[in-house]
C-alpha cells in the first residue's frame, strides 16, 4: 500500500510538473510570431493600412524584443507614420546553429541577427547623409518565408555562411528574386561557409551561375567610383590592427581574399550581390569606434550606397 502511495505521489508529481511546464511553455510562446521553419503568417498590423506604412515589429519570439528606435539610437525622434521609398530590410532565415547571432551581447538568436540592430541604425544614419533618399529610420526584419517580403524589393542577409533554409524560405526567396527582388549578402568567410551558402543559394536559384563581378561592372560606379575591393575586417581584427598587435590581420579562417560576386538574371541584371570574405556590417556597426579604422567604414558605406542605388534602378 505504501509502495502504491509512493508510486501514486511520484506519478502525481510528474503530472503536475508536466502541466506547469506546459503552461509555462505556452506563456513563453510568441503571441504573434513565426515558429522557426514554418511559414510565417502576415503580421496583424498589416491587416490595417499596409505593411510599409507601419513596418512590422520584431517578432521572432516573445522574450526577444529590441528596444524601440527612440531609446536605442535616435533619442527623441518621433518617426512619422507613412510610406517611405526605402526600408532597410534585414532577412530573417533559418541557420545551421553554428553562427554568431546575438543581440546586445545577450543570448544567441540566430545568425541573421549578427550586428543587429546597431549596424542597421548606424547604416541608415550614414546612408541618409550620403544619399538623397526617403528611407525609414527604423529596423525592419522580415522572414524569407513571409509573403510580406515581396513588399520590400531590397533585402540584406548577414552571416549567410550558416544558412540552412527551409523549403518555405527557399520558395519565398526564389519567387522574391524572380519577381524583381534584390538580395545583398555579407559577412561570411572561408571555404566552408562559402560551401554552405552556395548549397543554399543554388537551391534557391538552380542553374544560375555565380560570377565574379569585375571592377568595371556598373555596381562599382553607380554612385561612388570604387577601384579596388577591400577586405573589411570584423571589429576585433580591426582593433588589433589599429593597436598594432603583432600578427593582426583582416581575414578570418581561410578567407584571405575578399570577393564581390553576383548572380544575374536573364537580362544580365544583378539579382544577388555576394560580399564574401568581408564584413561590411561590422564597419557600419563600429564606425563610431575610434579604434575601428575609418578606411573600412568609408569603403563599406561606399559599396553599400552603390548597391542600393544600383538595386533601386536596375
Amino acid at each position: 500500500m505504501r509502495t502504491l502511495l509512493r508510486a501514486s505521489s511520484i506519478l502525481a508529481f510528474f503530472a503536475v510538473s508536466s502541466l506547469l511546464a506546459a503552461t509555462a511553455a505556452c506563456r513563453e510562446r510568441p503571441a504573434d510570431g513565426a515558429v522557426r521553419g514554418s511559414v510565417a503568417e502576415p503580421s496583424p498590423s498589416y491587416r490595417g493600412l499596409m505593411a510599409q506604412q507601419v513596418p512590422r515589429r520584431f517578432r521572432r519570439s516573445a522574450d526577444f524584443e529590441p528596444a524601440p528606435p527612440a531609446a536605442e539610437t535616435r533619442e527623441g525622434l518621433v518617426e512619422p507614420e507613412g510610406t517611405h521609398a526605402f526600408y532597410w530590410t534585414r532577412a530573417e532565415y533559418t541557420d545551421n546553429g553554428r553562427g554568431w547571432g546575438r543581440y546586445g551581447g545577450r543570448e544567441r538568436r540566430g545568425s541573421w541577427t549578427t550586428d543587429y540592430p546597431k549596424a542597421d541604425y548606424q547604416f541608415l544614419v550614414g546612408l541618409k547623409r550620403l544619399l538623397r533618399i526617403d528611407a525609414y529610420d527604423g529596423i525592419n526584419p522580415v522572414s524569407l518565408a513571409d509573403p510580406d517580403l515581396r513588399r520590400y524589393p531590397m533585402i540584406y542577409a548577414v552571416e549567410v555562411g550558416h544558412m540552412d533554409l527551409t523549403r518555405e524560405e527557399i520558395h519565398g526567396l526564389r519567387d522574391y528574386l524572380n519577381a524583381g527582388g534584390f538580395l545583398i549578402c555579407d559577412d561570411f568567410w572561408g571555404t566552408r561557409e562559402w560551401d554552405q551558402f552556395e548549397r543554399n543559394i543554388r537551391a534557391v536559384l538552380p542553374g544560375r551561375p555565380i560570377v565574379e563581378l569585375p571592377l568595371d561592372h556598373p555596381l562599382f560606379s553607380t554612385y561612388y567610383q570604387i577601384d579596388s575591393i577591400i577586405q573589411v575586417p570584423n571589429e576585433g581584427n580591426a582593433r588589433a590592427i589599429t593597436l598594432g598587435y603583432p600578427g593582426a590581420h583582416t581575414y578570418e579562417r581561410d578567407g584571405y581574399v575578399p570577393h564581390v560576386r553576383g548572380i544575374l538574371d536573364d537580362h544580365g541584371r544583378l539579382m544577388v550581390v555576394i560580399n564574401w570574405n568581408t564584413d561590411l556590417g561590422d564597419a557600419w556597426e563600429w564606425a563610431e569606434d575610434p579604434l575601428y579604422p575609418l578606411v573600412y567604414s568609408t569603403y563599406a558605406w561606399k559599396l553599400a550606397v552603390n548597391m542600393i542605388v544600383y538595386g533601386m534602378s536596375h
Binding site: 507613412g82 510610406t83 538623397r132 515581396r150 513588399r151 524589393p153 531590397m154 554612385y223 533601386m312 534602378s313
Partner: protein
C-alpha cells in the same frame, strides 16, 4: 395631295410659291365695288338688327355667314391674279445631271436596278418626261461620280464610278451652262454622296447664281436584308508591337439579331477574330477588337464580316484602312528626383521593348545625377535639358517624384511648350514631390496636366491612402490599360492586382480631360483619379497619381505580366502620334486612278517653330517604280504648311518621301503612302438619302421628286423664274375652291335657318 391642291386651287403649289398675288380690277371698279360692299354690309347689318322671333345669336350667325359670302363675292369681282414668271419655250436650257456611280446598279426590292428609272424616263425621246422637257427647254446631259463630264444622253452612262460627289457635279454643270439662260438643273441620284468636302461649299454658287436644283431620288431608302460595317478609324502610325484596340461599328437591317464573326487580317494573315452580336434593325453595335502589329512598314488592315446568306449588298461587309507601323526606337526622358523602386520597375517593364528607349536622369544627391541608357557620354551631362533643342530630342517626358522648384522657370515653361508646341507626351507620376505636394501649382506645367491640384492642407506627409484601382468606362476602351486581358476580362484583371498607395489626393479632372483609371479606398473622401489624360496643344499629358505601382509586379505570381504590359502600353501611348519636324500627310489615303488629291507637309525647325522659307520636295515613287521629284509650295495662309496637288496616273501603291531643308541644312523628312485603287465606298450607306436630296432642292429653290411624282417636274421647272422668262398673270377668281366656299356658306346659312325654324 398635290393633285387635290391643284383641283381646288387650279394650280400646283409651286406656282403659288414662285408667283406673287395681285388684284386685276381697275382702280374705279375697285372703289365702286368697295362702296357696294359697304352698302351691302350696312344693309345686312340693318337686317340682322330687325326684331322678330329670332334670338340675337341667330341673327349674328346668319349675318356673319351672309357677310362672308358677300366678301368672297367681292374678292372674285376684284379679279385676283397670280403674277408669275414662266419660261419662254425653247429659249432656256436645263441640265440633267445623272449619277453614274456603282450604287446606281444596286437592285431595289423589286429586283430592278436604280438605273432602270434613268433608262425608262430619259432613255428614249418618246418618253413622257423627255417629251415634256424638250417642249420647253433645250436639254444638256451630264454624268458624274468622283468627277463629272458632259454626255450626249443616258446611253453614255456606264454606272461604274466608285465615288459620288454631288456638290462638285452640280457646280461643274452650273459652270458649263453659265453662258446660256439656265432654268435649272435636274439631279438624278440615290443621294449616296461620299465626298469629303462639305456640300454647302458647292451649293453656295448655285444659290448665288439663282439656279434651282430639282432632285429626283431613286432607289429604296433602306437596303434590306443587309449587314454593313461602319467606317474604321486607325491612327496614322503606331509603334511596332503596340496593341491596337479598334472600335468597329456594325449595323444590320432585315437580317435578324444573330452572332457573326468579325475578322481582322493583314496580308492574308488573320490578326484577330471576334464574335459580334448584331443589334436590332438599323441600330449599330460597336465591336471592340484588340490586335497587335509586329511588322514595321506601311500596313493595310482589312476588317470583314463573312457574307451572310441573302444579303443584298456584299461589298459593304468589309473595310480597309492603312497605317504606318514604325520600327523606330522612341526616346523618352524619365526625370526622377530621388532613388525609388518605381524607377527600377518601370525600367524593367520596358527594357525588352525594342521600340522604347527610356533615358533616365535620376537625382541621387543634391547636384549629383545618375544617367542611364544615354546614347553618348555627353547626353544630359549637365542635368535636365536647358534648351528647347535639347529637350525636344525626346518624344516624351516622365516626371517622377521631383519638386517644381528643382527646375528654373525657363525649364518649366519649356516643359509646357514641349507638350503644346513640340507635340510631345508628358507623364507625371505620383510621389511625395509630385503634383501639389511637389509645388507644381502655379507653374506653367499646372495647366498642362489633366488633373486639378488642390494645395496640400497639412503638409506633404500627412495624406496617405491605400487604394484599389479599377478602369473607368473610358479606360475599358483605351488600349493603354487593357493589361493584355481579353476584352471582357479587363476589369477582373485589374481587380486581381494588389492595392497601391498615393500621397497625392486628386479627385478632380480638368475640363476636357478623360479619366482612365480610378481608385477607391477607405481613407479617401472622394474617388482618386489614378490615370487621366488630356490633349494640350499638339501633344498630350497624362497623370498617374499612385506612387508604388511596382507592387503590381512584386506581389502577384511571378509569371503575371500585368505590370510589364501596363507600362509598355502606357509608354507607347505616350509617344504615339508625337510629330517630327516634318509631318507629311495626304488628303485621302486611297483615291482612284486619275482622281486628284493633295499632299501637304508641316515643316518646323528643331525647336518646332514653323518654317516658311524651307525647300520642300516630294519624291514620288509610282507603283511601277518610276521616281519623280516635285516641289511643295508654301501655303501662305498657314505658317509652316506646304502643299502639292497630285493625281495618280496608275493603280497601285505610291510612296511619297517628303524632305525639307533650309540654307542647306536638312530640317527633316517623312514618308507617306497613297493607294490608287477602285473604291467600294459606293456600297456603304447605299440606301437612298432622301434628306440630302430634299436639302439640295430646298436650299436652291427647287423641289424633290421620286420616280412616281416626277411627271410634274417639267411644269414646275417652267415657273421657277430662272432663265429667259415672261411675266404672266394667271386668274384666280375662277378657282374651284372659291365657288366651293360660296356654296358652303350659302348651304350653311340655309341649314342654320332650317334648324332654327326660320325657313
Amino acid at each position: 395631295m398635290h393633285r387635290l391642291f391643284e383641283l381646288l386651287f387650279k394650280y400646283r403649289p409651286i406656282v403659288f410659291e414662285q408667283g406673287h398675288f395681285a388684284l386685276g380690277a381697275p382702280g374705279a371698279l375697285r372703289a365702286w365695288l368697295l362702296g357696294a360692299g359697304v352698302v351691302g354690309a350696312v344693309a345686312v347689318a340693318t337686317y340682322t338688327l330687325a326684331r322678330g322671333k329670332t334670338r340675337p345669336v341667330d341673327r349674328a350667325v346668319m349675318a356673319g355667314l351672309r357677310l362672308a359670302l358677300l366678301g368672297v363675292l367681292v374678292f372674285c369681282l376684284l379679279q385676283p391674279v397670280l403674277v408669275i414668271s414662266s419660261v419662254v419655250p425653247q429659249q432656256n436650257f436645263v441640265g440633267i445631271v445623272i449619277d453614274d456611280s456603282k450604287s446606281m446598279e444596286l437592285p431595289d426590292a423589286d429586283g430592278r436596278p436604280r438605273s432602270a428609272f434613268v433608262q425608262d424616263a430619259l432613255g428614249s425621246e418618246q418618253s413622257k418626261l423627255i417629251e415634256d422637257l424638250s417642249e420647253r427647254f433645250t436639254l444638256r446631259f451630264f454624268r458624274f461620280s468622283s468627277s463629272s463630264s458632259r454626255i450626249d444622253g443616258p446611253s453614255d452612262l456606264a454606272y461604274d464610278g466608285t465615288h459620288t460627289h454631288i456638290g462638285a457635279a452640280l457646280d461643274a454643270a452650273r459652270q458649263e451652262l453659265s453662258g446660256v439662260p439656265l432654268s435649272g438643273l435636274i439631279l438624278i441620284s440615290d443621294g449616296a454622296d461620299n465626298a469629303t468636302t462639305p456640300l454647302t461649299r458647292d451649293l453656295v454658287p448655285l444659290q448665288a447664281a439663282g439656279v434651282p436644283v430639282f432632285t429626283v431620288g431613286v432607289g429604296d431608302e433602306s437596303v434590306s436584308p443587309d449587314i454593313e460595317m461602319g467606317r474604321v478609324e486607325l491612327p496614322r502610325s503606331i509603334l511596332e508591337g503596340s496593341e491596337l484596340l479598334v472600335d468597329v461599328v456594325v449595323t444590320q437591317t432585315g437580317m435578324g439579331r444573330r452572332s457573326v464573326p468579325l475578322i481582322v487580317e493583314s496580308d492574308d494573315r488573320i490578326l484577330a477574330q471576334e464574335q459580334v452580336e448584331l443589334g436590332p434593325d438599323g441600330q449599330p453595335v460597336v465591336a471592340r477588337v484588340p490586335f497587335q502589329l509586329d511588322k514595321a512598314g506601311p500596313t493595310r488592315i482589312r476588317f470583314r464580316i463573312p457574307v451572310q446568306e441573302g444579303e443584298r449588298v456584299e461589298q459593304n461587309n468589309a473595310r480597309e484602312a492603312q497605317l504606318q507601323v514604325l520600327g523606330e526606337r522612341e526616346k523618352i526622358l524619365y526625370m526622377e528626383g530621388e532613388p525609388r523602386h518605381e524607377l527600377k520597375f518601370i525600367r524593367r517593364a520596358v527594357e525588352d521593348d525594342q521600340n522604347i528607349q527610356l533615358v533616365v536622369l535620376q537625382r541621387t544627391a543634391p547636384g549629383k545625377f545618375l544617367r542611364l541608357d544615354v546614347d553618348s557620354a555627353s547626353e544630359l551631362v549637365g542635368g535636365f535639358p536647358r534648351t528647347r533643342e535639347e529637350l525636344y530630342r525626346y518624344r516624351a517626358l516622365v516626371l517622377g517624384s521631383i519638386e517644381a522648384s528643382f527646375f528654373s522657370h525657363d525649364q518649366l515653361q519649356m516643359m509646357a511648350d514641349f507638350v503644346s508646341q513640340r507635340g510631345g507626351g508628358l507623364l507625371m507620376l505620383g510621389g511625395r514631390h509630385a503634383f501639389a505636394e511637389g509645388g507644381w501649382i502655379g507653374t506653367p506645367v499646372e495647366e498642362v496636366l489633366p488633373v486639378v491640384m488642390e494645395p496640400p492642407q497639412d503638409g506633404p506627409d500627412e495624406f496617405l491612402a491605400e487604394i484599389r484601382v479599377a478602369p473607368t468606362p473610358a479606360g475599358l476602351a483605351n488600349a493603354a490599360v487593357q493589361l493584355g486581358a481579353p476584352p471582357g476580362e479587363v476589369a477582373a484583371r485589374w481587380d486581381s492586382l494588389p492595392a497601391v498607395t498615393t500621397v497625392n489626393p486628386i479627385s478632380e479632372l480638368r475640363p476636357g480631360a478623360t479619366e482612365l483609371l480610378k481608385g477607391t479606398g477607405e481613407a479617401l473622401a472622394a474617388d482618386q483619379v489614378v490615370l487621366a489624360h488630356q490633349r494640350y496643344g499638339r501633344g498630350k499629358a497624362l497623370a498617374l497619381t499612385v506612387q508604388d505601382d511596382w507592387l503590381w509586379q512584386m506581389i502577384p505570381p511571378v509569371e503575371d505580366q500585368s505590370h510589364e504590359t501596363f507600362w509598355r502600353q502606357l509608354m507607347r501611348w505616350l509617344v504615339d502620334g508625337v510629330p517630327n519636324e516634318v509631318r507629311a500627310a495626304v488628303a485621302q489615303e486611297q483615291v482612284e486612278q486619275g482622281e486628284p488629291t493633295r499632299v501637304t507637309a508641316q515643316v518646323s525647325d528643331s525647336a518646332f517653330i514653323d518654317v516658311n522659307d524651307a525647300t520642300v520636295t516630294a519624291r514620288i515613287t509610282t507603283p511601277s517604280g518610276m521616281v519623280e521629284d516635285t516641289a511643295l509650295t508654301w501655303v501662305v495662309q498657314r505658317d509652316g504648311e506646304y502643299g502639292l496637288d497630285f493625281t495618280p496616273s496608275e493603280e497601285g501603291e505610291y510612296r511619297i518621301d517628303v524632305a525639307a531643308e533650309r540654307d542647306g541644312h536638312v530640317l527633316g523628312n517623312d514618308e507617306i503612302h497613297l493607294r490608287a485603287a477602285p473604291s467600294d465606298e459606293e456600297y456603304f450607306g447605299a440606301g437612298r438619302r432622301t434628306q440630302l436630296l430634299e436639302r439640295i432642292a430646298d436650299e436652291t429653290g427647287g423641289r424633290f421628286y421620286t420616280p412616281t411624282t416626277v411627271s410634274t417636274l417639267p411644269d414646275d421647272i417652267s415657273v421657277t423664274g430662272a432663265g429667259v422668262t415672261l411675266t404672266e398673270e394667271r386668274d384666280l377668281w375662277d378657282m374651284p375652291a372659291l365657288f366651293l366656299l360660296m356654296f358652303m356658306l350659302m348651304a350653311a346659312e340655309w341649314g342654320y335657318r332650317r334648324s332654327k325654324g326660320l325657313a
